[in-house]
Symmetry: D2
Subunit: 135 residues, 4 copies
């Protein structure tokens, strides 16, 4: 799909002792950007969905420091399954290089709290994004 670029505002607390963004903070960045992506794609429908993260996978490629400028993160829908879907992310450093790559798998939960097929309207919205050509 077309990648979407969002940004995250870094915080002082994202740094660890060594002055680098701590590995846990990147996962917070992924969460913020995922919510921005899903909010963009699904709108109000996001609020009535019940889905959970079942897998996170992150490769840390370059150290990040704290910058006042918003940190760009590219994100996209990578794959849509029956009851799960996959979001890809790349955190971009100030020189435009990929500082981290990540994929997150989410599962849709039915009313009984177990994995259930993604509802058709949500699937349509995600699929539309998946098929959109890169700008």
């Amino acid at each position: 799909m077309a990648r979407l670029r969002f940004t995250v505002e870094q915080r002082f607390a994202d740094l660890d002792l060594l002055g680098h963004v701590n590995n846990v903070a990147y996962v917070t960045y992924l969460q913020e950007v995922r919510l921005k992506l899903l909010s963009r794609l699904l709108g109000e429908r996001l609020l009535t969905m019940n889905h959970v993260v079942v897998r996170n996978e992150i490769d840390y490629l370059l150290p990040l420091s704290l910058r006042p400028e918003p940190l760009p993160v590219d994100t996209w829908i990578e794959r849509i399954g029956r009851s799960s879907y996959v979001i890809g992310c790349e955190v971009i450093d100030p020189e435009g290089r990929v500082a981290a790559k990540a994929t997150t798998v989410l599962v849709h939960l039915g009313s009984d709290g177990s994995a259930a097929p993604i509802p058709d309207d949500v699937r349509a919205l995600l699929a539309k994004a998946l098929e959109e050509p890169d700008a």
Copy 2:
């Protein structure tokens, strides 16, 4: 290697809106337990090492809620490479089930900040742990 069991004290802030431990908080748990493991295996030597997390991989299997009892997390050295090593973790829920599985890859950094062979004394300590039979 023999697994070691450590515990993490949960915090109210680990919960998200839905009353479950948020996916980011698990990564904090991994970090706490990793420091406990490495502190146990390497002692003071931990303080003079320079290593960074280059990969995190987490499967969330069961939701966790907030409990006053310390949360058990099993951890072990899974593999030792030339300049990197891998730590495995399983977060255990109050019923004794594996609530999450994770692996973290760390890379040793030389004085120039790039990947460098794990120093012999550190390698010996990690290898000793790796070879220890399960209790």
Copy 3:
């Protein structure tokens, strides 16, 4: 009232760049200890109450570093008003000195979400704690 001593497990992320516990982390410690105190005094009743923090006041007296041992925090009910009550806290460093002093004011909310008199059963439990002599 008799002070109660609880402990908080510190986390690596509580540290800032300078290797000291960041001022925000202390407020997390207060929250953890407040929940332990209220859970001890009110039991299950805590879960059906609706109260919010309306004021936090903290004096940072000594820097704290990261220790593997649980951090002791003394806490007590300081005052009970009509719809609010005050909790006192002292964070204790490894040498037994007071590293920080804090008071937190909480307000009970009625069903309409505005300040309301503390229910009699809760007031009785808080008052009992307030009147208990120091051990």
Copy 4:
């Protein structure tokens, strides 16, 4: 002094179980805005200063929820002492009301780590800000 308005980007993790911004997250907001203020007033000089927060005082006036728009926070230098200075803050909600008021006291530390007079160049920059008329 003239108040300066900065903004903070909220995060999902700032919310607690009840869907409101948790009281601890406000203290994070204060920290972010304080760094923005000091960075604006002191520039590079901020990096070579050694000061610590010795007091935080926050009144929570209105609940905040999570909004995608940046959260405005007004801030100003409130008072300059010999070795300490005071920063005031007001967190503004989407309706333009003051959702929280806070003051933070910082102390300048000398090379031995104890309170020391604020260096003249820093004092001059802070004083200039303090005296600036409101826009």
